[in-house]
Amino acid sequence: MISALVAKDVKLFFRNRFFATVTGLALVLYLAIYFLLPLQTENSVGVAIHLEDPAASPEFRQRLTEDEDFTLFPSKDEMLAALEDTDDYFVGMSVPAAAAQAVARGEATTLQAFYAPDVPAEAKQVFHELLVFIANMVNPDLMARLSPIEETEFVLGHDLLGQPLAVRDRFLPLLLLAMVMTEVLGLGTLIVREIETGTARALLTGPLRLPTFLVAKIVTGLVLAMSQVVIVVLVTGKIVVSPLLLLTTLFLGSLLIVGMAFFIAAISRNNTSVLAWGTLTLILFLIPALSIMLPGLASGWMELVPSHYLADALHRVLNFQAGWADVARDLFLLAAAGPAALVIGGAVLRRRL
C-alpha cells in the first residue's frame, strides 16, 4: 500500500507544474551558485596604515614595509579611500605624529581605527587587539618590559580555528537546508490538496488506515527531500566526506522538515496558507544556516531553532571532516526533534482527516 501511495504522490508532485519547475530550477540554480562562488580561501588580512610622521619611528616603518599584510599610505585620505572603495583592506589606522613619543614617555595616546563597511563585530574585536599590538610595537622597549606570558591552549571539541573556508563551502550547508526546507511547501501542498479535494476521504473510506496514509506521506517527504540533496552532494563531490554520517544527518534533518510539513498542512486551509506558513518557517529555519555564511549573525537564540542542529552538523561534517562523536549532540537533538515534530504534526493533521 505504502509504495503505491508514494508512487502516486511523487507523480502528483512532478505533475504539478509549479513544483516540478521550482524543484528543477532550484537544483540547477543552487548548483550554479555553488560552483560560481570562489573556491579559494581568503587568508590574508590587509591592513592600511598612514603614518603622520614617517621619520618618527624608522624601525617601525621598516617593519611595516617588510610585512606584505600592511600597506603604507602617504595620506590619511588615500588610506580611507582604499579602505572604503577596495576589498583589499579590512581595517586602517592613522598613527598621529606624537603617538610614538607619547608611548615612549609612557603616556596614554589615542589611536583611531577605521573599518571597511562589511567587517563583522567579532572581526573588529580581533583587529582591535591587533592594533593594540601594532601600537605597542612602536615602542619595542615597552614590549620588552612586559612580563612574558606562557600560554597553553586547550581546544574542546573539534577545532574549527585555523581552517579557513572557501565561500562556496560556507554556502553548502545553507544550500542543503534550503533544498530540504523547500519540501515543506511541496509536501504541505500535497497533503492540503488531498484534504481539499476529498481524495484523502476516498482513500481512508477504503481499506487504507490513517497511520498507513501518514507513513506514506512521511516516506514521500523523505524521498522528495533526500533525492535532491543527495544529487547535490554527489555533484559537488561532498558525498565522499563521511557518506554514512552525511546521509544520516540529512535523513534526520529531512524527518524534522517532514514533521513541520505535517504541522503546516494541518493548520492550513488551502495552498495559499501553506505557502504563507511555509515561507515563514523557511525564513526562520534558514537563519541558523545563514549564520554560517555570515558568522556575525550568530546568536544564542538560534539554538532554539531546531534547524540549527542540522546546519551545524552539516557544516562540521562537510567542512571540517567532523566524525560521529563530534556531531553526536546535533544528531541526538535532531533525532529527538524530528520524531517530535512528526508526532505533533501527525496528531494535529489527524484531526483534519
Binding site: 501511495l5 507523480k11 481499506p207
Partner: protein, 288 residues
C-alpha cells in the same frame, strides 16, 4: 427477504444541538437497490457517512454484511464501493492510474482497468489527465472506481446529479449490473424518476427521521391518487382540462357523465409521483 446486507437500528447522530439523524432503522437486502430520498439537510449525507464509517454513531447500530461499522470498520469498508456526491479523483493522474491505485489499495488480483473503463464508456480517453474530463466523464470514472473492488455494498450519493442523458443511462446500467451480481445498492438522489426506476424500495427521510419506507408501487398505492386527465372542447373553440380521481366510489359515474355531456378530445391516465407522495407526507418538496 434474503439476509440483510445493511441492517440499521435506531441510528442517531447530531452536530451539536442539531439532530441530523434521529433513530432511523431499516434493512437492505443483498441485490437490492435501496433509494434514500429527502431534501438537502434532511440527513441523507450524514446517514451515508455513518454507514460508511466516516462518522461514528452516537446511538444505535449499523451492521454491514454482519460487521459492526464501529468495531469492524476497516473490514466493512473493504467490502464497500462509494461514489461521492462531489468529485474526488486525482485530477493530475489519468483514468488508468486512478483505478490502478485503488486496485492496489484493495489488493484486487488481476485487475483490468481497461475493461472497467470500457464498461463506463471511457475507453479511448484513458491516458488523459482527469482534469480534462467533463463532469459526466468524471462521474462515470467515480462509478468505475467504486466498482474496482467488485464490492458487495455500493453507496451512491447523487450519482447522476447534473449528468447528460447518455452518462445517466451508463450509470443506471452499471447499477443494474451490480445488483444482478448480488451487490446491495444504497442510493441517495433528488431525482424521483431515477429513484422510481431503479429502486426496489425507497425510504423518505425528513428532519432526520424516516417518514415512509416501502416499494415505490406500494407507496403510490398507499399515499398517491390515480387520476384521469381529460381535455374537453367547447363550441367557441376553446379547450379545458378536467381531472377525474380514480379509485373512488363515484369514479365510474363521473367518467360516464363526462363522456355523455362533453366533447372529449383527449384522455390520459396519471398516477402520483414519488415527489407528490413526499410532499403529501412532509408538506414540502424534495428540492429545498
Amino acid at each position: 427477504m434474503a439476509s440483510p446486507a445493511i441492517s440499521v437500528k435506531d441510528l442517531s447522530f447530531s452536530y451539536g444541538d442539531n439532530l441530523a439523524v434521529d433513530g432511523i432503522s431499516f434493512d437492505v437486502a443483498e441485490g437490492e437497490v435501496f433509494g434514500f430520498l429527502g431534501p438537502n439537510g434532511a440527513g441523507k449525507s450524514t446517514t451515508v457517512r455513518l454507514l460508511t464509517g466516516q462518522l461514528t454513531p452516537q446511538a444505535g447500530t449499523a451492521e454491514l454484511l454482519g460487521m459492526d461499522i464501529v468495531s469492524e470498520r476497516k473490514k466493512a469498508q473493504q467490502e464497500m464501493g462509494i461514489s461521492y456526491e462531489s468529485t474526488n479523483l486525482y485530477e493530475q493522474l489519468n483514468a488508468v492510474e486512478n483505478l490502478n491505485l485503488f486496485a492496489r489499495l484493495y489488493k484486487v488480483a488481476d485487475f483490468d482497468a481497461m475493461a472497467l473503463l470500457e464498461r463506463v464508456g471511457l475507453s479511448g480517453r484513458e491516458k488523459e489527465h482527469v482534469a480534462n474530463y467533463s463532469k459526466g466523464m468524471k462521474q462515470r470514472l467515480m462509478m468505475a472506481r467504486a466498482l474496482v473492488s467488485r464490492p458487495r455494498l455500493l453507496f451512491l450519493d447523487e450519482p447522476t446529479d447534473g449528468l447528460d442523458p447518455v452518462s445517466t443511462q451508463t450509470v443506471h446500467s452499471l447499477i443494474e449490473t451490480a445488483t444482478r451480481e448480488g451487490a446491495a445498492v444504497f442510493l441517495t438522489t433528488h431525482d424521483m424518476v431515477e429513484a422510481d426506476k431503479l429502486s426496489d424500495r425507497v425510504a423518505f427521510i425528513h428532519e432526520g427521521r424516516i417518514v415512509a419506507l416501502d416499494t415505490p408501487a406500494a407507496l403510490k398505492q398507499r399515499f398517491g391518487m390515480r387520476a384521469l386527465k381529460v381535455e374537453v372542447g367547447h363550441a367557441n373553440g376553446q379547450t379545458e382540462l378536467r381531472e377525474v380521481a380514480l379509485d373512488e366510489a363515484g369514479t365510474a359515474q363521473a367518467v360516464h357523465d363526462l363522456f355523455r355531456d362533453e366533447h372529449v378530445l383527449t384522455v390520459h391516465s396519471e398516477e402520483a409521483t414519488l415527489e407528490d407522495i413526499f410532499i403529501d407526507i412532509t408538506g414540502r418538496g424534495l428540492q429545498g
